[in-house]
Subunit: 167 residues, 4 copies
């Protein structure tokens, strides 16, 4: 079953004010925006992107954010630290279609010593006028030691990278 | 990133009291339990089932429940009605591994005229003693007319099938 | 893009003569048959199982065969041996649909000291009369040492398990 | 099981001579190159991109090629024509890893009235010296009428687009 085809009304107040993709902010942390294109294999027989596809988009966006801050997730794992998912909430507002380009806006909405929460808004790109708001989401990650699988305090380099996107 | 390897402590009060799979209840609606085995392709480099895999298990469980009540989802779609996903919340408690058999317990936790909410508990099967609790989830589906993509009141046959599993 | 909707003609000479699933053969190796049900998430907007879904069915069938012979693939990996895919060929004959139950017949068609080739036929289950033939496939796996990632001779227990299904 | 970790030797004769991505050729058809980055969800517990992930990369590359020639696959389907997969062959030479950027070189290797065959070479991008050759593949697509599901002659606009990449 696919995300809701309901509520495809354009979003009157787009949260993305900066058109530049992934430019570092001078003062306040700018929106980090990751662009994804819907693949054919991600559609389902309802003719839209399957609701599970969005988890992959969110994951790709937050790892893109981490890379932009000098802490690619692959390197984090090689240093012995993992960030497994602990909680997810997803609110589907309108469907995405094959070949749609979508923008995943991503920021840190909560940061604690051993966990971090990302918030997301997904909009359809390339539309004249206000863009359609497709999905809102929050994903909480725990920080764990990969050798013991136990929670641990986040190292300073990770905490700093996330703090730079906290809002 | 994978579901949290934290909290793998056995669940002291398993919510599944009946060992029978999918037996119709005589009085109160029994637990509907769907069994899934973790596929190799569903694992990720953290060595556990990727967190996105669970959405597929949940979808398969609720469509199994619908079929058990004489309303296979394929037939529902052929009758012109769709049940797209509107809201999801997932709480990961412990990881599942390749070749694990897991039990998805599934029931209807809210039922309205044009939407239905399923709740889920996933446990690892085949364990001596209390089984490990892997995940809790809620998924809300809207009822829509597939030709217009607009919300509509649920037909009686669907409402009845879901009511039989409401608790 | 989905597997070909062409050629959905029933197969006049089904290769599966034994209706029992996965019964050990007394003389010649019987067909090993793995049953899979097409998931909603595996469909695409052409309304059929996406062509990539079949790789997962094939993988699940050969690991089922291995388990039936006392060599579950998970244990093989834990012993330090991997069986990565080296070559695949797939011939799509007819599509599978959501909720279809399909039978994956699987056997060993070539066995060498450091590689094994599985052959497959997939048919739609539960049809009166001759079943529709959906796909033929071959998959060649190499035997590697997981610590060095170098090819190695297959251990005797694996070779024996595969030899029992060679035809 | 993952693609073979064998044979990761660099390819001494890279087939991609032009570094420009997707530039139209002046004389002979230039290589069409599609870049993909390996997603975390595409890895498996062997620590590499799962062998099934490549089918998605190939699909994305050929639809990228079609779009570059003014015939996006989504529009082709809306015109009533589908291109389902009929045959696939894949030869895995070396694994791809999480966050690897890979280049999918794609061309038309056979073109008939009602079918087209794409050939592919996948290399790891961003390497000094000769790039590692990861995979070779061929995918044959049939041309069908989506309303009748029967094969049909390819329309002129599609045949021309493919002919421009024939080599």
């Amino acid at each position: 079953m696919s995300p809701s085809p309901l509520g495809a009304s354009p979003d009157p107040t787009p949260s993305v004010s900066s058109p530049q993709l992934n430019e570092p902010a001078s003062e306040a942390p700018a929106d980090f925006i990751h662009e994804v294109e819907v693949r054919y294999s991600e559609t389902d027989q309802m003719g839209v992107a399957h609701h599970g596809s969005y988890l992959v988009y969110l994951e790709e966006a937050r790892t893109g954010l981490m890379r932009a801050h000098g802490t690619p997730y692959g390197e984090v794992e090689r240093s012995g630290i993992g960030l497994p998912v602990r909680n997810i909430s997803l609110k589907y507002r309108a469907p995405a279609f094959y070949e749609d380009r979508v923008h995943v806006t991503c920021w840190v909405s909560a940061l604690r010593s051993a966990s971090v929460t990302f918030s997301y808004e997904i909009h359809r790109a390339e539309e004249a006028g206000p863009r359609t708001h497709l999905l809102s989401a929050q994903v909480e990650l725990a920080c764990v030691d990969l050798s013991t699988k136990r929670p641990r305090v986040m190292p300073e380099f990770l905490h700093s990278a996330f703090a730079a996107r906290l809002r």
